[in-house]
């Protein structure tokens, strides 16, 4: 027998408060209105009052409508039939095909015991020198691209995604424009991976609560595939839209904001998602790449700031290039010691020189005389930008390292590079 509750006490923002009993915290409910059903989630219990966050928003909900409780938390159906399919934030098919008939798995599973995590040690070769040499990407890493509107961050995401050679790709779109969704689809189709891709897409036109559910669904499904031994890549774009949805809802819930309107638990909310990236001991892995657009190109904005504290580095995409400063892969040292013996020396040496080049450029721009040393640095900067930083460059790691040596030899004496003697003796071009 289905039990309905119709004593709705309050409707505000996305939240409906109904009197009911025996309801579990975090459980799902269905709110039935004249316009149809919407899922909702229990976010507060207080005596007999149950507060529900309604996924589709509360527009059109009346105090005469009915609520039914599902007695389980948010779930997502999981089976191999997901592959090649597209869903929305509430888990409904978006591709006009039938619903998935499979057992659901709870979203927001408990954290992985650190003891059961492997040390990440497999480098993902992207053929982008700014990544491979300077900030190597590693399987099971969680890493965002920091960018601003107008940059081609989704393209970069898709490019790395294809290059990563994962068993399964899961795309989570939040506030995505429909065109961008189609572009991803096209890229995956051209890359021949559509058949092993699952997409959860929330567009700017969909209800804001559904945006919040995208990462959880993607990551729950990814985790299941990984437990089966598969290497899963999750692409999330744009996590700033996710954070903004959190902000909107916490303000409606009258939480005291901590910083520019964002809730005090923004860090925790983001971390619980990003930390799903894992290399399981004796099973598969989940790698998470995300896009974070920085409002006002400000990295101290709470969204990029909290993200940077959580993720294992970040790539700054600016002016169509991956910036050498600020970009970081925290896992690079797990892999770059075993690639080639000059990898670390080139990584440090080239960036230190490029930093000096920027200083010389500043001096030049102020109209100061350039010393011979300044001129060498300027030349170096130019070559480095054209032959290494340029995103059109698409070469394997070793070739990129050789290219760096060639540039150094064109500009400097060995001693001036700051690279230690033993490495110079072995690699300096003659």
């Amino acid at each position: 027998m289905r039990k309905y509750y119709d004593d709705i006490r309050r409707i505000a923002g996305n939240v409906v408060t109904v009197r009911a009993s025996d309801v579990g915290y975090d459980d799902l409910a269905v709110v039935s209105t004249g316009r149809g059903d919407s899922l909702a989630q229990v976010i507060r219990l207080e005596g007999r009052e149950v507060s529900l966050q309604v996924f589709a928003g509360t527009q059109g909900v009346s105090n005469n409508d009915r609520v039914r409780f599902l007695r389980h938390p948010m779930q997502v159906p999981f089976s191999n039939d997901l592959l090649g399919r597209v869903f929305d934030g509430a888990g409904r098919p978006r591709d006009g095909r039938e619903r998935i008939n499979a057992d659901g798995v709870d979203v927001g599973s408990p954290p992985v015991n650190p003891v059961r995590r492997r040390m990440p040690d497999k480098m993902i070769e992207t053929r982008i020198p700014m990544i491979d040499i300077f900030n190597s990407l590693v399987e099971s890493q969680k890493l965002p691209i920091f960018s601003v509107a107008g940059e081609l961050y989704n393209e970069l995401l898709a490019r790395i995604g294809l290059q990563a050679d994962a068993d399964i790709i899961i795309l989570g779109g939040m506030g995505l424009r429909h065109d961008d969704y189609l572009k991803f689809r096209q890229t995956f189709e051209d890359g021949g991976v559509l058949g092993r891709t699952v997409m959860y897409i929330h567009t700017a036109a969909d209800p804001v609560v559904e945006c919040l559910l995208i990462p959880d669904q993607c990551l729950a499904v990814a985790e299941q595939f990984a437990l089966q031994g598969r290497r899963v890549l999750v692409l999330l774009t744009d996590m700033t839209a996710f954070a903004d949805a959190l902000k909107e809802i916490s303000i409606i819930m009258e939480q005291i904001p901590s910083n520019r309107g964002y809730p005090g638990d923004l860090y925790t909310q983001l971390a619980r998602r990003y930390e799903k990236a894992v290399d399981f001991d004796e099973a598969g892995s989940v790698t998470v790449l995300a896009c974070v657009t920085m409002p006002g190109d400000d990295v101290t904005h709470p969204v990029p700031d909290n993200t940077g504290y959580i993720t294992e580095g970040q790539f700054y995409l600016r002016n169509g290039r991956i910036e050498p400063f600020g970009s970081l892969s925290r896992l690079k040292q797990q892999v770059n010691g075993e690639t080639r013996d000059d990898h670390r020396a080139i990584m440090d040496g080239c960036i230190q020189l490029y930093a000096l080049c920027r200083e010389s450029r500043e001096k030049r721009d102020m109209g100061f005389e350039m010393s011979p040393w300044d001129r060498r640095l300027l030349k170096y900067g130019e070559l480095f930008e054209n032959r290494i930083m340029n995103l059109a460059v698409n070469i394997p790691l070793f070739e990129a390292l050789d290219r760096c040596w060639a540039i150094l030899a064109e500009c400097f004496e060995p001693m001036e590079t700051g690279i230690r003697q033993s490495i110079i003796e072995k690699h300096w071009p003659r």
Binding site: G24, E46, V115, S371
Partner: protein, 575 residues
């Protein structure tokens, strides 16, 4: 069951009870499926207790039973802690992994110490002896140390030893002594005892002034901004500036007996690195595996927030316990900001009046009270124990004007400010030599340190000036000064953490290298032109850096040192 749930909001549960409730006592919220979720009473109003649940509250219902206990949130103390990997509530993670699998399922708790291990006990007192809380009754060997079995710290007054166990093998559950109090009542003592984490554990004759340098083998710390045993320091810095790496290398190289790592609200991956690496790494001072002197407490960012707040206290209590054995302990907390944020989340749910950036008004006093648990103590038998606390701070937006950084700076003895500019330019460790400070005295004569600090400051001024007047407007003397400051920065302050030799510099080598650099910096150079000055400085930088990479007592070392001496002898004229 002596209570029932009346409200659930996030990890905050309100429970109604008709019995006595003790503030800060623990309790269990019992979910419909029988799972018991550990909680702590954090506010009592009439017959309603507010409890923070240390687990996800998913599935709890109104009217679910609550079990209140009398005891406060406590840790178990005894042999077997060293090498342990615990969550914030001291559940042993390896054992949980064995029994529960990949995930940290709510409501799974395990005893922190192995109960079937046998420890070889040697009594240290005789029947009839008078003892007090903290006095050693006997010892058991634990890895490198004689682990003292002490009279429970909470026992007040003087006791008489009625029975003491014979030398032999015992488990932590076996009775190893029986003590009688004034009224003649007998109390059994086991090897394990408990202590409430939020109360400082300190049984001492007196606290002493910390002054013994704690060598970390990080040059910029030991030589320029030293820390001492029993002192405190903080490392604020924006993300990616190197806070965690600095903590990790300190955990490896610090010249200290025991290191306690509190991984608080940060990445699980970083804990994995430590727990996979440390068993394989050798402590060069003892020849034993590093894990044998380490305890890891981790509540990483995806683990429940309330337990994050507790984890710091769990860690500091274990540290204090070993200090009672006359050992030197180093507690590394990464990051104290996450601990502060956990307080903020809870305070918000309790609807307390928020302070700056929504942190609770008591934030500063909590920070101060935590660092106050560090210190040097003289035990009742005259031995000395110390607890040093170093915490990272993760200021929002890298802006150190925020409440956690400011509250911390008021109470610590040393400040290592990490700078984004330095980490961007890969100048590691990215400790800003102009902004950082230490109130302690280290291994280098302070007069020499002051000299170098003046040079660095002057070098910085000249560089600022050069951005206005250019190199052409700068005298060759000033240019040489600026370049000399760079030499010191490149050759001494920066250190390659991933290099076997350069990564850790022992104290004697630091002292020698510091003096050698002073010689270089104080040379009376007579360069013909600026290009020659620059070339000389490039040369000496290259020489010293390569010397840094050479292991002591090798030909390479001697050869490079000879070249440096030659540079000094010719005042850099031969470059």
């Amino acid at each position: 069951m002596n209570g029932r749930i009346i409200a659930v909001h996030g990890n905050l549960v309100k429970a109604e009870t008709s019995t006595r409730v003790v503030q800060n006592s623990v309790g269990y919220c019992v979910r419909g499926d029988g799972t018991r979720l550990l909680s702590e009473v954090i506010r009592v109003r009439g017959n309603v207790a507010d409890m923070q649940v240390f687990e996800e509250t998913r599935g709890l219902r109104v009217n679910d039973p609550v079990e209140f206990r009398e005891e406060m949130l406590s840790v178990t103390l005894g042999p077997g802690l060293l090498g342990g990997i615990y969550d914030g509530l001291q559940n042993p993670l390896p054992k949980l992994a064995e029994q529960v699998g990949y995930f940290l399922t709510p409501g799974q708790y395990m005893t922190p110490l192995p109960t079937d291990n046998k420890w070889t006990f040697s009594p240290a007192v005789q029947t009839g002896a008078a003892v007090q809380a903290g006095d050693t009754l006997g010892t058991v060997p634990e890895t490198l140390f004689e682990h003292a079995i002490m009279v429970p710290f909470g026992w007040r007054g003087t006791y008489k030893v009625q029975r003491i166990a014979e030398p032999g093998d015992y488990t932590i559950e076996d009775e190893i002594a029986v003590l009688s109090d004034d009224s003649g009542q007998e109390h059994p003592v086991r090897m394990r005892q408990t202590w409430p984490v939020k109360l400082p554990l300190c049984v001492a004759r007196q606290r002493q002034m910390p002054q013994d340098p704690l060598v970390t083998r990080v040059r910029i710390i030991d030589s320029m901004f030293p820390v001492v045993r029993g002192g405190t320091y903080c490392i604020p810095g924006p993300f990616g500036a190197g806070k965690t790496v600095l903590q990790q290398i300190t955990a490896r190289h610090a010249e200290i007996d025991i290191v306690i790592i509190a991984a608080c609200g940060e990445r699980a991956g970083e804990v994995v690195e430590t727990l996979r690496d440390f068993p394989k790494l050798q402590d060069p001072r003892t020849g034993r595996s590093l894990i044998e002197r380490t305890i890891i407490i981790c509540n990483t960012s995806a683990m429940p927030v309330a337990a994050r707040e507790a984890s710091i206290y769990t860690a500091v209590t274990l540290a204090e316990y070993y200090r009672q054995m006359g050992l030197n302990i180093l507690l590394l907390a990464d990051s104290t900001s996450r601990w502060a944020q956990a307080m903020r989340e809870l305070s918000g749910r309790l609807e307390e009046i928020p302070g700056e950036e929504a942190f609770p008004a008591y934030l500063e006093s909590r920070i101060a009270a935590l660092y106050e648990r560090a210190g040097v103590i003289e035990l009742k038998d005259g031995r000395i124990g110390s607890l040093t606390i170093g915490g990272t701070v993760s200021p929002a937006g890298g802006n150190m004007e925020e409440p956690v950084t400011q509250g911390t700076l008021k109470v610590v003895g040393a400040f290592y400010g990490l700078s984004r500019a330095r980490s961007d330019a890969r100048r590691y460790p990215a400790i800003d030599p102009l902004e950082s400070w230490s109130k302690y005295r280290g291994i280098i004569d302070p007069a020499k340190v002051a000299k170098v600090r003046r040079l660095l400051a002057r070098g910085n001024e000249i560089k600022q000036m050069m951005t206005v007047v250019g190199e052409e407007g700068t005298s060759i003397e000033d240019l040489t000064t600026a370049l000399s400051a760079d030499v010191f920065d490149n050759c001494f302050l920066q250190q390659n953490a991933f290099d076997e030799v350069d990564g850790a510099t022992p104290a004697d080598r630091q002292i020698f290298a510091f003096d050698k650099l002073l010689e270089v910096l104080e040379l009376e150079y007579a360069f013909a032109d600026k290009e020659q000055a620059r070339r000389a400085m490039v040369l000496i930088t290259d020489l010293i850096r390569n010397w840094n990479y050479a292991a002591a007592d090798t030909d390479e070392y001697r050869d490079r040192l000879a070249k440096i001496d030659r540079f000094i002898a010719t005042k850099g004229q031969e470059s």
